[in-house]
């Protein structure tokens, strides 16, 4: 069965169905993270003392490196899509592979951050600061894992998809990119709020 308007825009919405679906999904994601940001503001405003990131033992250098890693992965993701649009399949493979690798680098750095916290007996149950820190970075980390899964699937199946319908593959990469850039966008706000303020 052929999925309607997978490549061409729907006559009513003006965009392919996949893009509309991904944006609706991202809108729900905004509300998910929005609820957590709202909770963080309330808890912080109501707290007698809220530690600065460094005071709580968070590493600004590691988080800065992770920010750079995610920003770079956003560029490689959009370059993967641009490569497909320019009919450069080899470059597409390279850029998407780099995106996945950078996502793994982010998680490895996060792993070191988490193990350092556990080593110092800082857990979600330690205090309100660590409860919000682990909840928000943990949920974000799960989204990074989700991005790795989606991008890996697209990379592994891209050969056949490229032969069958290059435009459809380009659209799929664009939609996966929208999700990945959103993950980057959330981190852009998490980084200063949790680590720098």
């Amino acid at each position: 069965m052929e999925i309607p308007y997978a490549v061409h825009p729907h006559p009513i919405t003006g965009v392919p169905n996949g893009k509309l679906g991904v944006w609706l999904f991202l809108a729900s994601e905004v509300m998910l993270f929005g609820a957590l940001f709202s909770a963080l503001i309330l808890l912080r405003v109501g707290a007698e003392h809220w530690p600065h990131g460094t005071e709580a033992g968070l590493s600004i250098p590691l988080a800065t490196i992770n920010t750079m890693v995610l920003i770079t992965s956003s560029v490689t993701m959009v370059m993967a899509w641009a490569s497909l649009k320019m009919n450069q399949y080899g470059k597409f493979q390279l850029y998407l592979t780099l995106t996945i690798l950078l996502a793994f680098v982010f998680l490895v750095i996060k792993y070191f951050e988490y193990t350092d916290k556990f080593h110092h007996h800082h857990y979600p149950s330690t205090d309100t600061f660590y409860a919000t820190y682990f909840t928000m970075t943990g949920l974000h980390g799960l989204h990074v894992v989700g991005g790795i899964v989606v991008n890996s699937y697209l990379l592994l199946t891209a050969g056949g998809a490229w032969k069958r319908d290059p435009d459809r593959l380009a659209n799929r990469i664009e939609y996966a990119g929208l999700y990945w850039h959103f993950v980057d966008l959330v981190w852009i706000f998490l980084f200063p709020i949790l680590y720098l303020l």
Binding site: L20, A27, I71, S74, I188, F191, L196
Partner: protein, 96 residues
């Protein structure tokens, strides 16, 4: 974005690289500001301001929102409204 040719995309690639440089520079600015040890309200203001600029760059250029269709803007407008309610309503009501 789906209807553009290879030449248009080449122009976009240059923009992506400029945005990348801007994002990297703004990240350094964010971290630099945090080491100035400004009063809390100024620190929050500057940090969120820089984060908003960075987020806007990602949304506008990497997510192509700068040249998107109306239906997507409507979805985001509704989303932004409820996001604002989510952020401000508890803060406003907590002081009642």
């Amino acid at each position: 974005m789906s209807g553009e040719g290879a030449e248009d995309i080449k122009k976009h690639v240059k923009v992506y690289l400029i945005v990348f440089a801007a994002l990297a520079a703004l990240t350094i600015v964010t971290v630099g500001i945090s080491y100035l040890h400004l009063p809390t309200h100024w620190a929050i203001l500057f940090a969120l301001l820089v984060a908003t600029v960075k987020g806007s760059l990602v949304a506008c250029y990497f997510m192509h929102l700068i040249s998107e269709r109306k239906v997507i803007y409507w979805i985001l407008l509704i989303c932004v409204f409820f996001f604002a309610v989510l952020l401000w309503a508890p803060v406003v009501t907590s002081s009642m």
